[in-house]
């Protein structure tokens, strides 16, 4: 992450845009110690880690048919509180807006399908060696 400018804003920690990387805002309300009911990043995945997850998703184009990127750590390591292992980065509404994201799980209340990556993307993760077939099968069945 050398060369990436960071600045603290009222909304969170902003990672500036790079030639091949979008600007990214690590929002305060998704930090591990934030109040409120929003899904939160794990203590083991502070904003720089969160940014890395986003960059990996953007670089590899981890998308399914929906307007978002999906984040994942190798071997399905936990990245969010309550054992969440996946992250979602919705497409920004405007092209100049920074991206942001948050951990998700198919077990989030009333998000059983919304927070479940589509099978083709899961297969890409398996093919890329990010996860094994077993974790891929569990993701497809909404167990992650």
């Amino acid at each position: 992450m050398s060369g990436v400018q960071r600045s603290m804003t009222s909304s969170g920690l902003l990672f500036s845009a790079q030639p091949s990387k979008s600007a990214y805002l690590s929002r305060r309300d998704h930090w591990a110690n934030a109040a409120g009911n929003r899904n939160k990043w794990d203590h083991s995945c502070p904003p720089p880690c969160e940014y890395e997850v986003f960059c990996a998703a953007e670089d590899a184009g981890w998308r399914d048919s929906r307007p978002q990127l999906w984040g994942i750590k190798p071997r399905l390591a936990i990245l969010g509180l309550e054992e969440r292992c996946l992250a979602k980065f919705p497409d920004p509404p405007n092209a100049l807006d920074p991206w942001h994201g948050y951990p998700v799980s198919a077990m989030d209340r009333r998000r059983d399908l919304v927070h479940r990556p589509e099978p083709d993307l899961v297969d890409r993760w398996v093919a890329a060696g990010v996860i094994d077939e077993w974790d891929g099968a569990r993701i497809k069945r909404g167990k992650v």
Partner: protein, 371 residues
């Protein structure tokens, strides 16, 4: 509580379903692997001797149905054991393996009902006929009934329910002891469903459900009653039911229609809520705490006799009603967990699959011969 667990290492078995005398396994490379239960029993006896016979009794012979005298005696001999674990060497366990002959995609659930295999997949919903009578080369014929992704399949009252997410809940009704190939849509959103005790319960999410009253008629085959139609009914709460039970604001993790009552997993408890059924209504009447301590994160649940097998992200926990401590089955993260409550012979059995192998888990309330 007595638990017998048998672990078959390796084999890449993604899902499994036991039916009559056969264990059907779906592999990661999308093949159907077929084991004879008798061969598994022989392997258990050959490797683990009396312990293996006791395990076979626990797994495959609920209430002693079909058990040999040797298995019964072994079950008595192990009556004082809280549990036994056997890692079964499956190297020489015979099996048949076939391709289904259809582009199923990833299998998300499976069911065998009225001698037919049903596969819920991301490539649709398939009915598969497997004819084992021809010996070593089974004949397999697959038919896709629904093209939408199907997440779960359930059977009951002669009908099969296919839960197809945003494509809705589809029912395939019995027709002269043959489940009709054409599915009828009855709900707009379905993650899974349950059929039984006068109702079809559709789960739109892990915490949301709706009831359909089941209309039935005598089966033309003379075997019980079959589902002919469903109609959505409203749900109400009795005044006697405390507000915190089944509260929309509560922390409901999971709900399950279980033997004419709704099991609610919330706030670290399992609550059982009785349901009074009338023609146009299902009324939640009384609630009681069934299990006082549950894991904080529950992925799925299966009823096994008098117990509940709960899937967590790390293993399977077996819960008993009341204050008895949960028992752990160290499966590691699993892909499928299934029980067979509608089977007389396999009522005490659960099958689980995962990276650590295929697990066969027999659970009984009392050690030894169950009455």
């Amino acid at each position: 509580m007595q638990i017998f667990s048998v672990q078959l290492d390796g084999g890449s078995i993604e899902d499994a379903f036991i039916y009559r005398t056969t264990l059907y396994c779906w592999t990661l490379d999308q093949r159907l692997r077929i084991y004879a239960v008798a061969d598994i029993e022989s392997a258990l006896e050959g490797q683990a001797h009396e312990e293996g016979r006791a395990a076979a009794y626990s797994l495959f012979h609920s209430r002693g149905i079909g058990a040999s005298a040797g298995q019964r005696q072994a079950a008595i001999a192990f009556a004082k054991h809280r549990g036994v674990h056997i890692s079964l060497d499956a190297t020489n366990l015979p099996y048949l393996e076939v391709t289904v002959g259809a582009d199923t995609g990833s299998v998300l659930d499976m069911l065998i009902y009225y001698d037919r295999l049903y596969l819920a997949t991301d490539g649709g919903f398939f009915a598969v006929d497997v004819d084992l009578s021809s010996g070593e080369k089974p004949r397999v014929a697959a038919h896709r009934s629904i093209r939408d992704t199907c997440y779960a399949v359930a059977g009951g009252l002669g009908a099969v329910a296919a839960s197809c997410g945003v494509a809705g809940l589809r029912l395939l009704y019995d027709s002269y002891h043959i489940v009709e190939p054409k599915a009828r849509k009855v709900a707009d959103l379905s993650l899974r469903a349950e059929i039984g005790f006068g109702s079809v319960v559709n789960h739109m999410s892990r915490s949301e459900f709706e009831f359909f009253a089941a209309s039935t008629q005598a089966s033309p085959s003379g075997r019980g009653r079959v589902l002919t139609d469903v109609r959505r009914v409203r749900t109400q709460r009795s005044d006697t039911l405390p507000d915190y039970i089944l509260s929309d604001e509560g922390g409901i993790q999971l709900t399950m229609w279980d033997q004419s009552r709704m099991l609610v997993f919330e706030d670290g408890l399992v609550r059982s809520v009785s349901v009074i059924a009338t023609d146009n209504e299902r009324r939640f009447n009384r609630g009681r705490t069934l299990v006082a301590r549950t894991p904080t994160r529950i992925i799925s649940v299966s009823r096994i006799g008098h117990h509940l097998a709960v899937e967590t992200s790390e293993d399977v926990l077996v819960l008993a009603e009341g204050d008895e401590r949960p028992r752990q089955v160290s499966t590691g993260p699993i892909v499928s967990l299934r029980s067979y409550q509608k089977s007389y012979r396999y009522r005490r059995l659960a099958t689980a699959t995962g990276k650590s192998g295929l697990w066969l888990v027999g659970i009984s309330r009392r050690a030894g011969l169950d009455s």
